[in-house]
């Protein structure tokens, strides 16, 4: 698979892209909605190469940790600081999201309680088995790629009759925010890069409204540099022949019908709900929650958590605007000065998939 990263192929692909953008008066603007796409574009230095080839890449709401609003993090903090004998298990970056009541990482747990970093949802289940005298709450967030595995944990826990396990899940679906971004009219776009692994689960049909109702081209893209460039080429070809559609440039992994077994797991355990996204506000039927018969493993119901109270971002944090694609991280006056991975002001600088963190870690070379 060397061709996917190698200079030779990348150079050739960029040459082809340039030949298609040459005649245009302004760069084409492509939004990606996947943290891993953000990472690939910056980590390989593609952003500058693309800009030089007439393509501006814009980061959208593609980072689940970032779009999870503070009320979830504050609820998690309250659980571990106010309840005894409770282990809050979550991924590393989740522990560092700053809120008005601090971050999980620096919270002082109640007696016999603790915050534990796990590396997979499965690990949280194993933890519940080992710590029979304590309650384990898995605080997880994700899009459709991760959602089936979180749902499976809820099912396994219920099937095993585990009484000391619950899931605090902030689950988000990708197609609704695309509509929200387009309907807001805030960002001028030429096309979308659709997320590779979300699409492996949901297939390509859920994006068709983008082409049909908004006339925008788009292509499902994989995660190697060549994959991203092939998808951009597809978008350019769609612009050329005036036929916007949902192209699949990641055919080796994504089937048009997606993964029916994974969707069946989701349909069985979860149901759609309106959800409040950081930066994008309330979007109808854009989230997923555990069905009523999973109440026993639903942390919201089990602990009577109040997530309705909308919490605010820290002062000066522009994470919401970054997520909507209206501000690029370097445009924020705090970026790299008073906001950095060491002392973040918001989740976009905390999450490994956050646009601000990615911009910080993989910075453009200064030309003076």
């Amino acid at each position: 698979m060397d061709l996917f990263t190698h200079k030779t192929a990348i150079s050739a692909l960029l040459g082809k892209i340039k030949s298609l953008t040459r005649s245009r008066s302004s760069p084409i603007r492509v939004m990606e909605v996947c943290g891993t796409h953000t990472m690939t574009v910056h980590r390989y230095g593609l952003k500058t190469l693309l800009r030089e080839s007439g393509v501006d890449m814009i980061s959208g709401p593609g980072c689940p940790v970032c779009i999870t609003p503070n009320e979830y993090h504050e609820a998690a903090i309250r659980l571990v600081t106010e309840r005894e004998g409770l282990i809050l298990a979550t991924f590393g970056d989740m522990t560092r999201v700053p809120t008005r009541t601090g971050a999980l990482q620096t919270a002082v747990p109640a007696p016999r309680s603790a915050v534990r970093v796990v590396y997979s949802p499965e690990e949280s289940l194993t933890l519940a088995g080992k710590e029979a005298g304590k309650d384990v709450v898995f605080f997880g967030t994700g899009f459709e790629t991760t959602i089936p595995s979180i749902a499976l944990m809820a099912r396994k826990a219920r099937q095993a009759g585990l009484r000391n396990y619950a899931v605090l899940a902030a689950l988000w679906t990708i197609p609704p925010p695309l509509r929200a971004v387009l309907e807001s009219g805030e960002v001028r776009l030429s096309g979308f890069l659709y997320p590779g692994h979300v699409s492996a689960i949901i297939g390509t049909a859920p994006y068709e409204f983008v082409a049909r109702e908004f006339g925008l081209p788009g292509a499902v893209a994989g995660f190697e540099p060549a994959d991203i460039l092939l998808a951009i080429l597809s978008i350019l070809e769609q612009i050329e022949d005036g036929r916007p559609r949902v192209a699949n440039a990641y055919g080796r992994v994504v089937r048009p019908e997606g993964n029916p077994a994974a969707r069946a797991v989701m349909d069985d355990i979860l149901e759609p709900a309106d959800a409040h996204w950081r930066g994008l506000g309330r979007i109808p039927r854009s989230g997923l929650i555990l069905k009523p018969d999973y109440a026993g493993v639903d942390a919201v119901r089990k602990y009577g958590l109040d997530l309705a109270a909308g919490s605010e971002d820290l002062p000066g944090c522009r994470c919401g605007e970054v997520l909507r694609g209206v501000a690029a991280p370097p445009e924020c006056r705090h970026f790299a000065k008073t906001c950095s991975p060491d002392s973040p002001r918001g989740p976009c600088m905390v999450s490994y998939e956050g646009a601000c963190f990615v911009h910080f870690k993989y910075r453009d070379v200064g030309y003076g």
Binding site: L46, P225, V365, G366
Partner: protein
Amino acid sequence: MDKVSLELGSGGRTMRDFIARTIVPVLGNPRLRKLLDASHIPGGFAFTTDSYVVDPIFFPGGDIGTLAVNGTANDLVVSGAVPRFISLALILEEGLEWAALEKIIHSIRRAAKRAGVEVATGDTKVVRRGQGDKIYINTSGIGRVIAKPNAAAARLGDRIILTGTLGEHSLAVLLARGDFGLEAKVRSDCAALTFLLPLWKKGAIWMRDITRGGLATILSEMAAETPFPLVIDEEAIPLSKAVRAAAGLLGIDPLYLACEGRAVLLVREKDAARVLAALRKHPLGRRSAVIGRLDDSVGRPGELILRTTAGGLRLLEPLTSELLPRIC
């Protein structure tokens, strides 16, 4: 900050800031202010110290004893000194198994022999069960200075040479902790770098061993001292299969993984080919490679630039937040 956080010991920015803002202003003297891993002291000697808190204490390829000798010897080597004597201070937790302790002492003996150092003095303390994690070791080392590292004297075209593959020590320790459910064939790269000493007279003007913070952090230190930007070729960086697999499977970035037997050298352009050939002859330097050079055609002085495998350019940042505690 009103309490010590784990990040303070990570080798990253938080630690550097702590030293610059809390240690140096209070203890500051011209020698300490240079913030070298080993200080040159009167009489032609270099003096260094390091503490070892690795968890677990035994891992594939070594143990806390091997680390304690090699880590300190290596600090002297890369500071331009031949390691001669080390002190050995043990802090033992009540209840530590005798067999484990004996094994570690024998590891120390073997490592000291290989590194050419004599354990000249030592100390033993025992703390109550629960007040120290099995064993902590401090070693201080004295060496005879044979060269003065000077990155400020670097010229355009000078080459950056890496003596081997990255990250095997970190990966071996991580897997030995049982954290990730991975099965990989990997051994710590822990080793004495004394084979680099002759290179001080053969074209090397600066060296550093790649410990906490990984290659990216060490190169940032180099970039801060050289008058020209460093441009690194990502494709040239040697990686073992196990580390590449961990990178793909876990999202770990090899450029930030600590090693315990790898160094990066700044070498005069005209001497680079010979230095590389000499390194590759040694069993510990077989995968040595030129990974970059001083180049001002892109970027500004002080910048550390990576040319990615895809051909794009970006800055390479030093380690910021704590990632893997107690790796050495």
